[in-house]
């Protein structure tokens, strides 16, 4: 059987997200209830979640979530990790057996810190050091895939309907200030666990409803900067574009949004001068990272969440608020099921970035 990566799989999907501006702990059970309402937007071939603030006991360690196809892959990957990291805790990720989730790989979690002498020898900053190790494992160790690598956050994903995936990972046992979720509807897939959303690197995670027409142009551009698109599912490239623009180029999340969902030139022509100059600069300087085709995405990052539609708004998305809680979903019903009475609800325009951050963390995008 061909895996994803050997065949290309376009997909439809549903997304949902919850964010507490005050940083209150939200149970993973709530996001499962939300995404479950959109069951028919998925077809059982992929579901996943990202939770932020879920590892308060290890806030300063990178939490690596890893799929292994075999014990050999595990041994090889662990040997590699031990060369670069101090592993302070390792365990299987707790799961609950269910008939709905089958063929699971070995699923392990490591809390790690870079070995100080390795880090200083590398002359890299810590996050770049970690990102390179993750890319290295995923591109060169057969059968090992690090699908989550941020601090105090974690991705949980599998082949299955999202509500079954959430139950499988016992998400009711986790609580965090932000959750995102994805239900996948690939039109043709041999299906494997790594191909489910979210796609994550460091603390950036992306869930995506849509299909990227510009995937190959974006892939060629991002691979010139050291990234390796190992999955050939389009969403992967969005994660790397965000990492590149925000972490490495120092753009704000809003600026990154204006690169990926750039305004049309005739819209730019009507802008006031300073805004026009900024928009022109972003389109010209990062032209290869313009993402075309339908998308609605949720980008999770430390202390924040960004929701963004493609500039033609070819996918549905609404944002609801109630007190300090912000909800974003492909369908309003997915919000109403967990918060029947909202203070407000609206549909952002195509290309309009909605940025939500912790009250305690002004700006938050860095």
């Amino acid at each position: 059987m061909l895996k994803e990566g050997q065949v290309r799989i376009p997909s439809g999907c549903a997304i949902s997200g919850i964010f507490s501006r005050k940083g209150s702990a939200i149970s993973g059970e709530r996001i499962i209830r939300s995404i479950a309402v959109m069951h028919d937007r998925s077809n059982g071939l992929g579901g996943g979640f990202a939770g932020y603030g879920i590892y308060p006991d290890y806030p300063d360690f990178y939490a690596l979530h890893v799929f292994y196809d075999s014990q050999t892959a595990k041994q090889e990957c662990e040997r590699y990790l031990e060369r670069y990291f101090d592993i302070i805790n390792l365990s299987k990720i707790p799961t609950r057996k269910s008939a709905a989730i089958v063929d699971e790989p070995l699923i392990w979690r490591y809390f790690v810190a870079p070995l100080p002498h390795r880090l200083s020898d590398s002359q890299l900053d810590e996050r770049e050091f970690v990102a390179r190790r993750v890319i290295r494992v995923n591109s060169s160790i057969e059968g090992a895939y690090i699908f989550s690598s941020g601090k105090n956050m974690g991705v949980f994903k599998a082949v299955g309907y999202p509500e079954d995936v959430g139950a499988f990972y016992r998400l009711e046992d986790y609580a965090g200030y932000c959750w995102t979720a994805h239900g996948r509807y690939p039109t043709n897939t041999p299906g494997w666990w790594g191909g489910a959303h979210p796609f994550a690197l460091l603390d950036y995670s992306v869930v995506h409803n849509g299909e990227i027409s510009s995937y190959d142009a974006n892939r060629r551009a991002i691979e010139m900067h050291g990234y390796r698109c190992t999955l050939q599912t389009d969403t992967e490239v969005i994660t790397y574009i965000i990492d590149y623009l925000v972490r490495r180029q120092g753009l704000t999340m809003e600026e990154a949004a204006r690169v990926m969902a750039a305004p049309f030139w005739d819209t730019i022509a009507r802008m006031p001068q300073q805004e026009r100059e900024e928009a022109t600069y972003l389109r010209n300087a990062f032209a290869s990272f313009l993402i075309t085709g339908p998308f609605s995405i949720l980008v999770g990052f430390e202390g924040g969440l960004m929701a963004l539609n493609d500039r033609l708004k070819l996918r549905s998305m609404v944002v609801g608020e109630k007190g300090d809680l912000v909800y974003v979903a492909s369908e309003e019903a997915a919000i109403r099921v967990i918060e029947p009475e909202l203070d407000s609800i609206r549909a952002p325009k195509g290309g309009e970035a909605v940025l939500i951050t912790l009250d305690a963390q002004k700006g938050g995008a860095q």
Binding site: V37, M38, D40, F264, T267, R270, L312, K313, S316, V318, E331, E332, A333, A334, R336, V337, I345, A347, K349, G350
Partner: protein, 239 residues
């Protein structure tokens, strides 16, 4: 008859509604169930909550009144009947509509009324109380779209590409928040004949949502029509 929807699966809910012998059905706590009222004739549905995608698709004469917001593809290809929404509507509302009316109290999303068409005595009507997203009336071939701008903002009445590729029908815009329009459209102040045509439409809108007719009518109106003397040629790739 009153049906509680809650999280009943859409198939079961639609079957219950179809099986109900009453002409009038009230459905409470609707939560994302798709295709409600689809293709039906001669009935009246009152829905409370958030109906799912494809509400009233192919509607053929029934009336659907929604207390809440609607999602995507409301009244897709509807043929006859009325959909009244006390709230907002999502994207692709009234797509390919060929008869009947949709009245929305609030805003409508992207691609409202694309491919609307008319034939002989069939002429669809879409009225938006607030504002519309981009691509309003794209490829419109017939029928009437009205945007009233009663949303209390200063946003343009529609987003980008309003009436793009339009070749029939009319778009009425109330007030002066005229969007930037693509080429090959004619924008004119409403004539006395246009006003005459609008009057019963505004009356119906005001009846649906208990608005004051004088207040809604007392504003400038503009009409967008296609420039038939200058037809499209290579619309999306002119060079």
């Amino acid at each position: 008859m009153v049906i509680e929807a809650n999280q009943t699966y859409y198939q079961a809910l639609n079957e219950a509604i179809r099986a109900c012998p009453d002409t009038e059905v009230i459905v409470d706590r609707v939560l994302g169930q798709r295709y409600l009222g689809c293709g039906s004739s001669g009935r009246r549905f009152t829905l409370r909550g958030t109906p799912g995608n494809g509400l009233g698709q192919y509607l053929n004469g029934s009336t659907i009144e929604v207390y809440g917001n609607c999602q995507e593809a409301v009244g897709d290809t509807m043929n006859d009947g009325d959909i009244i929404v006390h709230g907002n509507c999502g994207d692709a509302c009234g797509y390919g509509m060929r008869g009947g009316s949709i009245f929305i109290e609030g805003n409508v999303g992207y691609r409202a009324g694309i491919h609307m068409k008319s034939y002989l005595d069939k002429s669809p009507l879409l009225v938006v109380g607030g504002v519309a997203g981009s691509f309003l009336g794209e490829y419109q071939a017939g029928g009437t779209i009205v945007v009233l701008g009663l949303d209390g903002t200063s946003e343009p009445l529609a987003g980008n590409f309003c009436g793009m590729g339009m070749y029939g029908g009319k778009i009425f815009l109330r007030g002066d928040r005229i969007p930037v329009l693509p080429r090959r459209l004619i924008l004119q102040e409403a004539s006395p004949e246009d006003r005459e045509e609008l009057r019963p439409i505004l009356e119906r809108f005001c009846r649906c949502f208990h608005r004051d007719l004088a207040e809604v009518s007392n504003a400038p109106f503009h009409v967008i029509t296609p420039d038939s003397a200058n037809p499209y040629k290579q619309l999306y790739a002119p060079y």
